[in-house]
Symmetry: C2
Subunit: 397 residues, 2 copies
Amino acid sequence: MQLTPLEELKRRVQVLQFRLRQEDLDGALLTEKMDLYYFAGSMQQGFLFVPADKEPLFMVKRNLNRAKQESTWEKVLPLQNFKQLAEYVKDYACRDLNRLGLELDILPVNQYQRLQEQFPSATFKDISNLIKEIRMIKSDYEIAFFRKAAEISLQVNRRIPELLKVGKPEIQVAAQIESIFRNMGHQGLIRMRAFNTEMSYVHVFSGENGFYSSFLDTCTAGRGLTAACPQGAGWKPLAPHEPIGIDYGTIYEGYILDETRLFSLGPLPPELEEAFLIARQIQEQVIARAAPGVFCADLYHLALETAVSRGLGDYFMGYREAQVKFIGHGLGLDIDEYPVLSPGSKHVLQPGMVFALEPKFIFPGKGMAGLENVWLVTEKGVEKITLIPDEAVIVSY
Amino acid sequence: MQLTPLEELKRRVQVLQFRLRQEDLDGALLTEKMDLYYFAGSMQQGFLFVPADKEPLFMVKRNLNRAKQESTWEKVLPLQNFKQLAEYVKDYACRDLNRLGLELDILPVNQYQRLQEQFPSATFKDISNLIKEIRMIKSDYEIAFFRKAAEISLQVNRRIPELLKVGKPEIQVAAQIESIFRNMGHQGLIRMRAFNTEMSYVHVFSGENGFYSSFLDTCTAGRGLTAACPQGAGWKPLAPHEPIGIDYGTIYEGYILDETRLFSLGPLPPELEEAFLIARQIQEQVIARAAPGVFCADLYHLALETAVSRGLGDYFMGYREAQVKFIGHGLGLDIDEYPVLSPGSKHVLQPGMVFALEPKFIFPGKGMAGLENVWLVTEKGVEKITLIPDEAVIVSY
């Protein structure tokens, strides 16, 4: 089992400590599961106390044994309750803790109130944005996992055409793709940090089902099987000459590669074929412009302008009022990382960012035409991590 | 697509309103996804305002179209932001809102602070416990879904023996079971309300891997494939004469049936076989005692006493310090519903409760011996919902 090397954890924590000192914080108390995995190398019920000036303390309620095996930090302690947490932290800090950072984007009010009781003289500051900005820049250690995921995705993608048959329900296709992934070691779960969300790792949506989005901030999600799980593959049988969108998250050591490809049984109607080609042109334009220092918001506007100039503004990234306001998003241990390629983004591209770019058109009653690839920002420009070819795949039937 | 009938939603909301008035609350603002599904029939990004005295208002940020299709409530409105939420609520209530109930077990601090800004004169009370107590009592409409899930589980379970082969990695078994489930319409996701958790829907753990638990409050979880997802099937090949535990959640229309069965390739060692029989005896004792009015805590103590009297106290529900303090838990749209059969529970059994009872023994280096079935509390006593036979299944190899 691969463990995050101590040197990698140290590097990450040093960046966090630098930011904590900039914000005049005495330390951070982290609990979100992927933050714990990122900064402690182990996902547990518990807290990681990161003082601004020394090594962190990993306090674990469950599962202590596993935390000791997985985390390469030296200080891993058993945790009973919030009272003990405060005692550990105060003892270890050896000084007054006036200002502490917390993940207020996800921390429930009940837990926050317990922390307030235990640290009555402390002020808590939200550091969720700061943490997302740290996790936004990937190390070589992390980038290698995306490359591995890209190799797996290529192998899985090659097997998709043989799975597509006229009359076969979407859910059967999804079940087969998931099975291929799982046999190759996919963890079977995908993660999104946004509150109150969840995500299937294989979305299959054919024809009009490509028009269905969901509570997720995505322009497609699929029809789903029931109202109790309104996303992913539905019961609809595949039909000829319809766009079959397959949007999936390959995962390697927790790192998510988010890609979408378009398939069809027989040729697509010219309108959708044309829209697909425009989506590819938008991708090429955005990537030609993308480089360190470029504003993410500018890339969004560039894409939108092309869509509008080609008469497809109403269909770009969703249909009219259902449109989402981004053309891409950062990837990592969560599928919704920074940067977001959106009009409201303040981020500029920086080396080490990994993002999905997904120009897509949604036509009511007809479905989705577009694609999604994953890119790495380098010193020189942008490098494609995705290995699967960009073409829409027409399968004979 | 099955929609929750308006009569069912009305009944649920009436119970909530009764409890709100008891607590002297003017209304509730709900946002947790399964609470929205339960009280509005549709899982969206948004809020359901339930005044203490009239029909609810469903305010939906994403996806409005889908919410209108799925929710049988009349009032479904588009929501932009927290300011508009407050305007809608104040207009609709037609009176001052001094005391509002919120789901403080899951609501993040950031969102809470935005609500405080928009309702400066209101006091917020935590109603998460109250909501869990309402969802704890299942209607006939809900109970029918558990029975459907039990039929599916029976069909899947019958196919497990043929999947077990010496040398086959756990993950391949899990992939096959998942594929069978998905083809039968399983949503592929399972839900847990507890903060910061996630759960695979098929756990396969053989031999010593049955000793591995995780950050989840469960006595088994499996080894998992990587530290990035420390639960579920691992890479370990199945071996003869080892316990193979398969713990899975069958889902029908969102309702989760949580069951565990023990398999082996060739007979188990006598120690494990004996422990399995004791687990079954504990199940029989607990079920013989279980009836409306019986304290859940008493059922826990009854089970523990038997385990101790048979010399297996150190192994019951985990090994020593890793033990979990429950023998069963409520089921519904989440896998961790009320009641909990734990020493700290204040609940008594009531008709309409559905719970999993899971007496299990964990032996270091050897694995798990036990079982898990699902039960419904009726007016007279307790009825088994699970349809699969209780026996441990020995597969020839």
